[in-house]
Structure formats: structure tokens, C-alpha cells
Subunit: 352 residues, 3 copies
């Protein structure tokens, strides 16, 4: 079950270059990405309407894609504009085109009713495309239901255990009860760890200061599109970070993590982890990205192992613990949004 | 769904040599091929009647096969002739034997009611075993429903696109409306491309003449056994090829392409492409076979990609185009033959 | 279908060392093996009660296991003893612990009702842990239903065919009608091959005597736990072996073969083949083990091939032969035991 009326991150812009036809599955739909002559992105259903050959093994021709089985040509709106041997194509050969917006280095695809595809609804991920911050676009493929990945993000107590030697490095994290708030679009979670004696392991050797640390993770999950945006960082203890003061030595991050379902059992994970210190130091940016990748691989290993257990034994009977309040709120809101959308579906169809 | 009362190409004769037990699945039945002492081919169900071990990992003994699990021996008629420790085998241990004819380098197997297995019904594929023509027996395994492969053969408009740089090389092919005829056994298709400026790419460097070309593809699909037989070629333009004159410089081919279902989702493809020019030049025959193999691999890539889409999304809603009349006729005739056979089945059973 | 109220061999003791958490599936249950501080073995369900992460990718801490996702800790009885951030764990977080006994180098696990787990019921496999006998613990994984492996053991006529060049080497074996007896716990089979001219192939070059041989296989299958125990050997012909005299030159073996279902389609096979001659010669013990491994691989190849046929075509219609009486008795007794156990289940549940 997916929320369909939302902008989903479908690809990094740099994945679709030149005459490339990029196949990808989003929310169970096989689609193909390409760029028109003016450089703008287009997304079509990756299936010729004739005999169902994938268009992604076809050929880009101008603003169109030609199926290289029997030669039908489709424009970026999905209209069949050429059928070999006929002056006008036969009827009923058009295919589905998806609304597209390219913003913040990502190509966003609207997977639901096109009439509702308002570009103003694209989530604000500007930190990954902001000259005051440095980051590297990254991607991880998951053999897991998207909700398990979001569960993971909704409960940072796991940093103490999963990321003991990378992103965590402190028992305080698991012992901290976060502030959980429902927002208009999802869930906001605020976590402070004041006066920690040690820097997080992934920051060792790149510290901008010595001594005790105020650490924090403040993040919001937007349920439409599964967009997780985080303000996190480490500041010299007692310099006012919790009250909003961010002294120059503070190592600040703005993370963007987006989970786009591939299908019910697999997911795309797009992420950046922008830092605001020493941003012209590309080696530093690469080093941090490599360490974060190691940490994110730890999540992937755990979540995919969890998914295998669920695949085999189901998920009935999961226990509830102290740390689950964020996760539970997220699951409840997601369920309500999907139910609401599916309840509307008949009305939308009747209106359309 | 398969038509069962037909001779199907099961193996090239050269695949079954010496004491080899060749396992293969035909129309969903696991069978084993071997040769008796007199060199004639035999085909048995590849399953011991006792505990269902495959006979193909057993041992050929004279005209028989011994299961190497508990030692039962079966003759070429499927009769159990030995049970270790007993003077006469226990009852009800016989297995199914299939009627077999070896002809035109192929071992043909009758997959339906043995009482109907008339050797005179074996399709005439003599061109692949004719001293006036040169060819090399070839085989391709397909991860695809046999009908998708036959669809491909029924619509040569795909030569323009799938085989742009090999078997096609001309936009004329896709633009040509062929003559489609129903025959006693299937469908005949006639395609002429007169006065083409360029030779087909796979013939470059081996031309027997220069200048404009009359090209043709005249072929018939016999639905019993899925046997496709083609007269194709390239003659100097205006020398009367369409009227039946084949001047000595004409490069003529007689292609045999046979699709035997392995099961509902996989197929065996046996083919030759006999040529009548420079036939004592083995290098030429090998070069042409290699280029044709490249072309047939292009079909395999496309059809298997199409099959994957169908596996995931079904085949409801396929569009109909100008070029589909041959394909549609074939599908209708096949359906009718299968329905007729299955409608007869109760009567046959009652009579048998 | 499995008999659950039985001790099953779950692992060799040497497989669980130090801080290792060994995951394994037994009778369809995913479990994790580890050792407590006192060295004794513990077996828990390999699934955290919280979000179903496998405990086997967690961490051993003293006598406990910590889930390394969100940090819950379980003791060897399955009790949740720690939930991070809480002074006492939330309710309903305990997991299943399995009764365990380590004996004869194996860790035995009781897969049914714990109230019935009597250590005195552990089968007597002392020969694999007896200083008068030499053997090497071995393991084979099978892609096959455990019953097909037991079928194989119940009919040694297969030695003539499957093990023609290893464990068999004589047509007499298949021709011999064994004595079959029902015992309290299963089936006993007695096979004598007196005056054989040749030693079994796997004993060539290690013979303790020359000349004709009395060979035998006397074995019992205990249905609870699928434990097969065999007295086999080769003695100089006419020295009284059938009457119970075992002269010093006799090469005697005590084989232990245990089949523990992994799930309905896969099995664990634990085995030793203890010999009583030249027992301080470790090279001899290794050489024999290597040759026996070759022989057991022949069984695996045959049984897995048989399983594939059954997977595809079912097992209806298997024939019955002379040699099947042991197998048939075993299957009947197993079926009766399982039916009886499942018939009791409601009563047990009501009483519990």
C-alpha cells in the first residue's frame, strides 16, 4: 500500500544524461526517465502499448522515445505519434506519462492523479543544492519494504547499537526520551544529548573543537514522498546550541533522506548529508560521505535481515517498547493518509 | 496451453551420441533421449516409476536405461524389464515412451496420443539436409512463452528496428504491407522489397553482385510443431525474382526455424539458414551463421524483455497495429487447434 | 509435517564456540545457538520480540544475547531482562527458549512441548564419543525433504547402484532380501552378505586381511529425532561374524546418521562413521572419512535430483517394489507418530 498522490524522488538528475533511457520501478510502476531536447526530464510508463516491450531498450529520438520492437514512437506526454507504415497511428496506443519536476538535484515524479500534481508541493530539499553547504548525492537500494526504513528513522535509539562505531558511539542516545510532535505533514522529533564526553565516531579526526559536546538530532518526516529532513550537529558544550545559538566551531549538518518505494518489498533510498564547515575541502566532504555510507550500510544490513524474518514469519505479534512512540505515530498517520486517499479514489474517478 | 498431437523437434541428432542420456523438457514433460544399439533414437519419460529419480542420471544398457537409484531397467517402449532381486518385475512399473522419428537432422517427438503419431506428418525440413544447400544446425534457449517467439516471426516489420544493423537495414521492411494467407496448416506471408539500394547488413562483404536489389521473405508457419519455413533472398533488381526467375547471382536462403515449448515460460529454438551460393566455402557458411546468430540474439533480447514485462503486469490491454494481421491470424488458428484438440480429448479417452 | 516432541540434533558442539551466535533453522523455526558463561549451550528463537530483527546478528553478553537493533537483552530462558531507557522492560517481550542437552558431541534441541523434554530420551550415540572408536564429526546440507533421506537409508539395495564404486561394489547387496523388524522406536534392518569375493571399494588399500569376506549392515532407525545407528563391517569369511563372533581382523564400524529437518524442503544431515581398527592412525580416519564423504555426496546428488522431480510433478503414483518394505514400514510408523502427536495437541493445550 502506497500513498500515490505525492511527489516521489525518482532519480538524481545526474543519472539521466544524454540519450540515456533510465528504467526504474516506482511504487510498483515500471517507468523510463529521459531528457527532452531542452534538457527537461520526462517520465513515461516503460511499456510499449502494442506488445509490451520495454521502451527503455528503445531509442530516444528528439523529445520522443521509439520502441525498437515494431517502431512505435511516443512523445513526452505519452501520445503515440508514429506507427510505421501508417500516416496516422491507430487509436488507443497512447501510454501513461507522469508529471515531473526537477528540483534540488532530484527528478520528482507524481505517482497519483495528474490533476493534483502541484509543483509547489515538491518538498524543500534545498540544503543539498545550497552553496553554503557541501554534500554528495548518494543512493542505496534496499531489499526491504519502505516502511521498515522509515521505522528505523523514527527511532534513533538504534544509533547506540546499530551504529556503535560510526554514527552513534554513545549510550546516551538510547537512554534519551525524545520530544515527538505531529506536524501538518508528518512527525517532528527532537533529541538533545548535552555535555557528551566523546565526539561521534564518524567525526573523529575532523573535529573543529575539543572538549565536551552538545549533540542533537532534530528532524521531521514528511509523509507525502517519505522525505526525512534533519538538522543535526555537535557544538562545544554550553555554548547555547539547545537555545538556538550555533557558534562558529559547531559542526552542523542538514541531512536529506528520501525513501521511494520500488515495490512492496524493495526501496530506493536517496540521501545527502550536507555540512557547513570547511565546505571548500572536497576531501573532507568525500571522507564524511564515505563514513556515512558505512553507517547507512549498517542500517541496510539490519533492515534487510529484519525483512527476511518478516518475509518468512509475518509481522504479527511485534512487541511495543518505550522507544516506539515516534514510529507508532508515523505508522498511524501513514495509514490514515492512505486510507483517506483510497476512500477518495472512487470520487476522483467519477469526477475524472 | 499446447497443441499436443504434433511432431515437435526435440533435439538435433548430433546432441544424442554414444551412451549419452540427454534430459530435456518438452511441453512441460521431462523426457530423456538416447540411442538404441541400432543407432535409432528413443525418448522416455525422465522419471523412474519407483521413487521418481530421473533416468537421465542413470545408465544406458544396450537398448535400455537403468535407473541408478535402485536399479530398475526400462526398455525403449517404457516397459520395466528388470527389478533387482526379483525374477520378474513388480506390476505397474512401466513408464511412458514417446513416438520418435529422426529426419532432416532432427529427432522429432510426438507429444500427444501415440495412436495418432503418423511419421508422414513430420514437417518437410529437407533444406537443412540437402547437398545443394549449406547450413549449420543451431539452437537457442529462450526464457519466453513460445507464442511470443512465433508472434515475432509473424511480423517482419521488426526487422527494421530490432535488426537495424544485422538482418534488416531498411525502413522499407516496416513500411511494407505483406500478403497474408491462411493455408491448410497455418499462415503464409509474402513480403517483397523491390529495388532496394542497400544489401542487408549481414550480407555486406559477401555479396555476389553489386547494384540495386530485389529482396524478399516468403514464409509459412505450420502450426503443428511450430515449424517456420522461409524462402528469402536478394537478387539483382529487375531480373525477375518477383515473377519467379532466380538468376544465378541471386543469393537465396531457405530458413528453418522451429519453436518447441519447453514449458509455459521457456522455449527451445532450433534453426538453420541454408544458402545456395558458394556452398563448398565452409568459412562463408560459418560467417553467415555467426552473423545470423547475432541477429537472432537481438530477437531473444527483445522477446525476453517483453516476457518479463508480461510476467509482471500480465498481457491484458495490448494494442493492435497495422502490422498485426499475420500475428492475429496465427493466434486465432492456434487457439482454434488447441480448443479442437482439447474438445476431442474426452472422446479419444473414451475410445482408448 | 514434523514430529515435534523429540530431541533433534541441532549442531555439533564444536560449531558453537566463544562468543559466536550460530543461526540455524530447525523444523521451520529460526533459532540461535550460543554458549553461556559456564560453557553450557542455549537455544533461543532467532527473532527479537520487538521488531523481529534476528538475534544472531546481535551480541552475546554474559549468559544473555543483546539485539543490536534497539538493544533489548534476553537471557537463556528467553526472558527480556533489559530495555534501554527503562528501569524494567515492558511486558510481553519474552521470547521462546528451547530445552537443550549437549551429549555425544552434539547439541540436542527439543522442538515440541518443553514439559515433555526429558533428557533421558536423548538417543544413545556414544560410539561417536567413545575412546575405543575413531571418527570425525561431519555435516551435509540437503535441498531435500528429510523423509527422502530416510527412505534412502531404509533401502540399502541402492548401494549396488548409487555407490557402485564407493560404499557398495557388489550386486549381492541389491539382490539380498533383508530382515525387517519393527522396534519400540522405529525399524531395525539386518543385512548379511556372506562370502563376498571383493572388499567394498572404499576399503581398498586399508584392508586388515585378504580373501573372501562376510559383510553386514545391521541398523535401526529411531523415528524420534530421525536417528539412524548402524553396526556394519567386513570380517574374514567363515569366522563367525553372523553368529556374533568378531575376530580381531574384522573391520568394524558404528555409523551414526541423523537427519534434522530444516524446513519442509531442506534438511541437516549430521554423521560419523566410527571404526575400531588402527584407531590411533589419524590419517586412516581422515582417509575413510573422505571416502565416505564421496559416497554420501552420491546420495545427496541422487536425492536432490529426485526432490526436483517431486517438486515439479508431485509424488502421486510412485511404484512399489520388492525392496520397499523397510521404507514402507518407516513411512507408516512416522505418519502414525505425527498423527498421534497432532491428535494430542488440543488436549495438551487444554491442560497447559
Amino acid at each position: 500500500m502506497f500513498l500515490r498522490n505525492a511527489w516521489y524522488a525518482g532519480a538524481w538528475g545526474h543519472e539521466v544524461e544524454g540519450d540515456k533511457l533510465l528504467p526504474r520501478k516506482l511504487l510498483g510502476d515500471a517507468v523510463v526517465f529521459y531528457r527532452k531536447s531542452d534538457g527537461s526530464a520526462a517520465v513515461l510508463r516503460d511499456r510499449c502499448s502494442h506488445r509490451f516491450a520495454p521502451l527503455s531498450i528503445g531509442r530516444k529520438e528528439g523529445d520522443c522515445v521509439r520502441c525498437m520492437y515494431h517502431g512505435l514512437v511516443f512523445d513526452a506526454d505519452g501520445v503515440c505519434v508514429e506507427e510505421p507504415g501508417k500516416s496516422r497511428p491507430s487509436p488507443n496506443l497512447d501510454i501513461r506519462a507522469y508529471p515531473v519536476v526537477e528540483r534540488w538535484k532530484l527528478i520528482w515524479v507524481w505517482m497519483g492523479d495528474p490533476a493534483l500534481a502541484d509543483p509547489d508541493l515538491v518538498p524543500d530539499c534545498h540544503f543539498q543544492d545550497d552553496p553554503a553547504w557541501a554534500s554528495i548525492p548518494a543512493y542505496i537500494h534496499y531489499d526491504a519494504d519502505y516502511r521498515l526504513i522509515l521505522d528505523n528513522l523514527m527511532d534513533f535509539s538504534h544509533l547506540t547499537f546499530v551504529h556503535e562505531n560510526t554514527l552513534g558511539g554513545s549510550a546516551t542516545i538510547a537512554a534519551t526520551r525524545p520530544k515527538i510532535e505531529q506536524t501538518d505533514g508528518g512527525v517532528r522529533i527532537t533529541r538533545w544529548y548535552p555535555g557528551e564526553p566523546e565526539i561521534a565516531p564518524y567525526l573523529r579526526g575532523v573535529e573543529t573543537f575539543q572538549g565536551p559536546i552538545d549533540r542533537w538530532n532534530i528532524y521531521e518526516l514528511q509523509i507525502a514522498g517519505n522525505v526525512f529532513l534533519m538538522d543535526s550537529g555537535s557544538a562545544p558544550a554550553g555554548t547555547g546550541a539547545p537555545e538556538g545559538v550555533r557558534v562558529p566551531q559547531a559542526m552542523q549538518f542538514r541531512a536529506t533522506q528520501i525513501v521511494t518505494p520500488e515495490d512492496e518489498h524493495h526501496s530506493h533510498f536517496f540521501w545527502t548529508y550536507a555540512h557547513n564547515f570547511d565546505i571548500s575541502n572536497a576531501d573532507l566532504t568525500r571522507k564524511l560521505a564515505a563514513r556515512l555510507t558505512t553507517g547507512f550500510q549498517e542500517d541496510k544490513d539490519m533492515i534487510e535481515a529484519q525483512q527476511k524474518v518478516i518475509d518468512e514469519y509475518g509481522e504479527d505479534g511485534m512487541g511495543y517498547i518505550f522507544a516506539d512512540n515516534g514510529l507508532a505515530l508515523f505508522r498511524r498517520l501513514l495509514r490514515a493518509r492512505i486510507d483517506a486517499e483510497q476512500g477518495q479514489a472512487p470520487k476522483l474517478a467519477a469526477a475524472g
